[in-house]
Every structure is written in C-alpha cells, then in structure tokens.
C-alpha cells in the first residue's frame, strides 16, 4: 500500500481547505441578487439574476476524491470532470482566478465567459468538464488513446457521478478502455445525491467497481470519504495505467454537503458558509491525522487557512473587477 508522504498529506489538506472555503464563498456569492427586492409574487429564487447566473452544483464534502486522485497526477495527465467539478479543477491546478472569472461570465475567464460553471475548459492544465451526465468518460478514453498513440507517458482520468454509471455511455467507455487497455482511471463519486431521486431504487445490481470487472477493468471500492483511503486506491490505479496495465475504476462513497444544485426545491436555502460541523468531515479527519503525526500544529494550520483565504479573496476580486466580453464576441469562436 502506497502511503502518502508528508508533503502530499499537507498538499491534500491545504487543497481540501481551499476547495471547501472556495465553495462556501461561492455559495454565498451565488445567492447575491437571486432574491431581488422587486421579486414577483410566487418567485422565491431567480436563477438568472445576480453576478453568477445559471445553475450551481457544488462539491463541498467531496474534496477527498479530488485530492486523493489528483495527488498522483502530473501536469501532462488529462482530467475530465462532470457538472460538479470545481473540486477536481482546483486539485488539478486550474487557476482559481480565471475559473472564478469564468463563473462570473467575464472575458478574463477560462473560456472568455462563454462556457460558465458547467463548461470549464483549461487545456493548459489539461482539464475540461461538461453538463451532460456521462459525458466525461469518452473524452478520457480519447486522451488516453492519444497518449498511447503518441508514445506519451501521460494518463487520463474521468470523474463521474453514480448517476452517470447508469448511462449506456458508461458501459461503452469501460468496454473500450478494457478492450484497448487504455491508460485511464474512472473515478465514480457516489455521493448518493443524484438529483433528489430515489437513487437506491434507481441502482440495480452490482456496484460500479464490480461492473468494471466485467469489462476486463480493475475495480476498487473505497467506502470511506477519506483522503488517505482515496490516495491509496488511486496510487494503485494510476500506477497500473502508467505501467501499461490498463484501466481501473475507483468507486468512492462520498458525501455532498450542499445538495444537488443551489436553489433546488430541496435545498432552497444553501448553507451560508459557516457550515455546521459534520460527524465525519473529511477535512477534520485529515487534520487530526496530520496533528497526530506532528505534521500540523496551530501555527501552521493558521498559515494554511490564511493562504487559502488569500487565494479565494484574490480570485473573487479578479472576477468582480474583470470586464464582460463585448457583445460582438457572441459570434466569435464558432469555428477555428
């Protein structure tokens, strides 16, 4: 079992904190203007107004999955995310300021404001995502295939929700990866909150990790929402991909703190930021481990937290201070 070395442990801790505080901040900013004072009767929440329009899917609580996997990745490795991707983007090194500007729809954003929260593209950091459930798997296969064909040592990782594991595209992608022994890792984030449906009823039969085996792919189940557990599973998967051993699916039981999307009927009042302490908060768990190993004390913790707040404040300042694209840009970039 590959244990995370101290520098990785500290990186995971700091990145998890950054993700959590970023999402808490975003949850608050997202609410701004969503209840305008002249709101018409019957409308309790206006998804289109405020500095951040559109849907907002937050991943707070799922930090262990993002950092446990990305701790093993190099800049040249490809990561494809889902509709719930900020945590993965941050862990892959996507710059916070340009990501935030994109979420605000500003011209300084990753996609010049054209993609928004659901469609983040950062080719420099080899990260992308999309709003179509299941759409992350084929691009990861493609990037892995490209790596093989060009002789690159890079691998590719697709994140997916457990809802996506019920799509046909899941089975086809696993089949392709299995047949071609692609250097790819599928990471299924089972947050048990695919839109508040009866997910238990919607899932029939074997777990995703078991299904993977049917396609000649290794399947690893991680049943704790724990950064070290994910790190250890991902070490095996990433190593296998790099050594030419083919694909792996890691199925992580995780937890989403904010509900399906901000403003949905179930979670009409998004958490305001302070967030109640949770019995199994993965950040607290990792902090305790670090402290036990004398890798973390109050002073260092304080510095780490301040650094995170500094990054976040700078990112939101950058986003707010940036300009919107000129309307004439609407017709640009349709074709190369």
């Amino acid at each position: 079992m590959t244990k995370p070395p101290p520098d990785k442990l500290l990186w995971m801790y700091e990145t998890m904190l950054l993700i959590r505080r970023y999402e808490e901040t975003l949850a608050q900013v997202y609410l701004q203007g969503k209840r305008p004072p002249d709101i018409p009767p019957g409308l309790s929440f206006d998804i289109a107004s405020g500095p951040v329009p559109g849907e907002m899917h937050l991943a707070a609580g799922q930090e262990p999955v993002a950092v446990g996997v990305c701790a093993h990745l190099r800049e040249t490795d490809t990561v494809v995310g889902t509709h719930r991707s900020h945590h993965v983007a941050i862990a892959k090194g996507v710059p916070l300021d340009r990501m935030t500007a994109e979420i605000f729809g500003k011209v300084t954003g990753l996609g010049r404001g054209k993609g928004g929260h659901l469609h983040l593209f950062d080719p420099a950091h080899r990260f992308s995502c999309s709003g179509i459930v299941g759409a992350s798997l084929p691009p990861a296969c493609g990037a892995a295939l490209a790596a093989r064909l060009t002789g690159s040592p890079a691998i590719a990782v697709a994140f997916l929700g457990e809802g996506a594991a019920k799509q046909g595209i899941f089975h086809e992608s696993l089949n392709l990866a299995g047949q071609w022994r692609l250097p790819v890792v599928f990471v299924c984030e089972d947050n048990r909150s695919a839109i508040p449906g009866a997910e238990d009823r919607a899932a029939a039969g074997a777990s995703s990790a078991e299904r993977a085996k049917c396609y000649g792919i290794e399947g690893i189940a991680v049943d704790r929402n724990d950064a070290i557990a994910v790190y250890e599973a991902a070490a095996v998967a990433v190593d296998r991909a790099r050594q030419g051993g083919g694909a792996t699916l890691i199925d992580v039981k995780t937890e989403c703190h904010f509900g399906h999307f901000q403003g949905d009927a179930r979670v009409f009042q998004p958490t305001t930021g302070a967030g109640e302490p949770r019995p199994h908060d993965p950040i607290a768990t990792l902090a305790a481990t670090l402290r036990r190993r004398k890798l973390l004390d109050d002073a260092l913790d304080h510095r780490i937290r301040q650094r995170a707040e500094g990054h976040i404040a700078a990112a939101f300042e950058f986003a707010r201070g940036s300009l919107y694209p000129a309307a004439s840009e609407a017709t640009e970039h349709v074709f190369a």
Partner: protein, 352 residues
C-alpha cells in the same frame, strides 16, 4: 402572478403552465388507465420542472415511474410499451440532453409506424424543457424543436401559455402518434426562475383539447405579421404594444404546433398585412424561420408581399454563458420592435 391565486367566486381560475400540464396529465391518467409517466426524479421531487407535481401521491410509483439515468433505455422502452397498447409519457429534463437517446427517437420512435407499413402505433408523449435567458449556457439553453420537426414521424408542440399547454397536452396524450411537447422554462411558473408575464392564464377545470395544426391569433393587427411561438409570443406581444404607440399595428400569430404546421393561418395573416417577421428562439439556420419563409414564398401567387420577409432568431452560435453575450443572441423585445419598424420602412422604399 406566479402561483395559482385564489380567485373570487366566479372569477376565472389562473394556473401556471406547470400546474396546467400536471392537471392535464392527471385527468388523462384518471380517464385512461393505459396512461403512465416515466422520468428522472419524479419521486420526492415532482420533476425538476414541476410538470408532474402532485401526481405521485395520486397515482403511485407504478404509474409515476422514477427512472434511472438510462435515457436510451427508458425512452426506447416507452416506444415499445406504446406498441404493446400503453400510452407512456416520458420526460427528460432538458432538450439538450436528448442527444444521449437520439437513436431511439429518430430511428425507432419516429419511424416504426412507417416501416411496419402502418401495423404498429406509437402513442408516446416526450416532454422536455427548452429555452435560455437564465445563464444555462450552450448545453442547457437550446430550443431545438426544429431539429425534431425535421424528422418525419414526430409531432411537435410548443405552447406559449397555461391554457394552451393543458389543451395541447391533453391532445398529445390522446394522439396515436409520438408527440414531443416542448415547454419553455420561462413560461412554466417555476419558483426559481423568472417567468413571462402573461403565461399564467385562465384554464378551464374540465378536460379539453386544443387541436394540433391550429395557430392562434394572439393579437390582431393590419400592418405587419409576427409569426412566432413559445416564450417569444410574449416578447412579440410586448413589442406590439410599443409598435402600437408608433402607429404600427402588429398581428401576432402563435403557431402552437410546428408539426402539423398551420400554414393557412400564416398565409391569411400575411395576405392581410403584406409584411412578415418570423421570431424564433431556436437557431436561425435551417430552422423554423426558414420553413415559414419558404411556405410564404411558395404561395406568392396567393399572397402579395409589400416588403421582404425578415427573420429574428439565434444567430448560428451556441448560446453563450456570459449575460451580455446571452442577451445579444436571444431575440429581445427591442429587436422585434426594430425589425418591425424596418419592415414598415421597407414598404415605403418599395412604394417609392
């Protein structure tokens, strides 16, 4: 008003479009035990677009059926269940998501009656949300009804208000063919999205149908015809109010269904006004606006035009996320007014 009010006795009952749709489905389910509904997140949720609100409690989970995110499978299953004599209604939250199950729709649902030489019937209703203006960006803002209208074998319905939504939905459920019902998010009356003033209207309590292929004259006028549908009907009506103050009387035609298309109503109105503006929230290229323009062009032996045909639609670009860009591509009241004024001018030039 956004939610159903409590009108004074005798006053008409106002419903949101979502409530009207749910009422239509509920009444048809009561009338016909073969009708059932499938979709994602009906359970505790009532469907993301609330078009099935309250139905689970009344009809239970066998007939208000939560599906896994296996869209090819459940939409294909709906087609086959219909062949077996049932009358499924399937919902997919957003038309943008239909890509994952297109084969089942355009190779099977739309064609099996034809390919079987008329032996099988596929009375399926596919219901979905369309439209932008809320920051949904390129994958959650499209209209795409023309894409489906292009495919022979599918009927295509796009209501603009609660009354028509109930009548058209009832008609769709009773129709023996596959019918796609496109519901603009902005007319549903959702608690989390701005809705269009005018979409919540009086709706009769008893079941009724609005026949397919009959456009409505949403406003009469004699100078210019605006042909449109869905949310854009309301923008056209707002534009018509402004135009009225400038001495231009616009007639607004609400198509209500694309397949079948009420060409007669279009021709009658254009014959009266001599000027045509088509307003569409779908893409401009190869779509509804081109179709309507072609219909009129093909009948120039019957109707006389006083000005060239004009169209307003989403230029051929994906819907951008950033608010100013989004506003730049989706037709606005202001641009409808401008286009109508230009049309009026075009007449003067032609006369000169």
């Amino acid at each position: 008003m956004n939610t159903a009010g409590h009108p004074a006795p005798g006053a008409p009952r106002i419903l949101t479009t979502a409530q009207a749709i749910a009422e239509a489905i509920g009444q048809e389910m009561e009338r016909d035990p073969r009708v059932f509904v499938m979709g994602e997140d009906f359970g505790r949720y009532g469907g993301v677009f609330s078009a099935t609100g309250g139905l689970l409690e009344r009809f239970g989970p066998e007939r208000i059926r939560d599906t896994p995110r296996s869209e090819s499978a459940f939409i294909g299953a709906a087609a086959a269940a219909a062949v077996e004599g049932l009358r499924p209604i399937a919902e997919l939250m957003s038309v943008d998501l239909f890509g994952v199950c297109m084969d089942q729709i355009y190779n099977h649902l739309a064609k099996n009656r034809y390919m079987s030489g008329g032996q099988v019937k596929l009375p399926v209703v596919l219901m979905t949300a369309i439209g932008g203006g809320h920051g949904g960006a390129a994958q959650h803002s499209q209209c795409l009804y023309a894409t489906f209208a292009h495919l022979p074998g599918l009927k295509v319905v796009v209501p603009s208000n609660a009354h028509d939504a109930k009548g058209l939905m009832t008609q769709a459920i009773r129709d023996d063919n596959p019918v796609m019902v496109f519901l603009h998010r902005g007319i549903m009356g959702l608690p989390w999205m701005q809705y269009q003033e005018g979409a919540s209207v009086a709706v009769p309590e008893t079941a009724f149908t609005v026949p397919f292929g009959q456009a409505a004259v949403a406003r009469e006028g004699r100078h210019v015809t605006i042909v449109t549908l869905g949310l854009m009907v309301h923008k056209a009506l707002l534009a018509a109010r402004t135009l009225h103050t400038q001495g231009i009387e616009a007639e607004v035609i609400d198509l209500r269904t694309l397949v079948p298309l009420d060409t007669q109503s279009v021709l009658r109105s254009v014959g009266k006004t001599g000027r045509l503006l088509i307003v569409d929230e779908d893409y401009l290229g190869f779509g509804l606006s081109g179709e309507i323009a072609a219909v009129v062009a093909e009948h120039m032996d019957e109707v006389a035009l006083a000005a060239p045909i004009r169209r307003l639609g989403v230029p051929n670009v994906p819907i951008p996320y950033s608010r100013p860009l989004e506003q730049a591509v989706i037709p606005s009241v202001t641009r409808i007014v401008e286009a109508c004024c230009e049309l009026a001018d075009a007449k003067l030039k032609a006369a000169a």
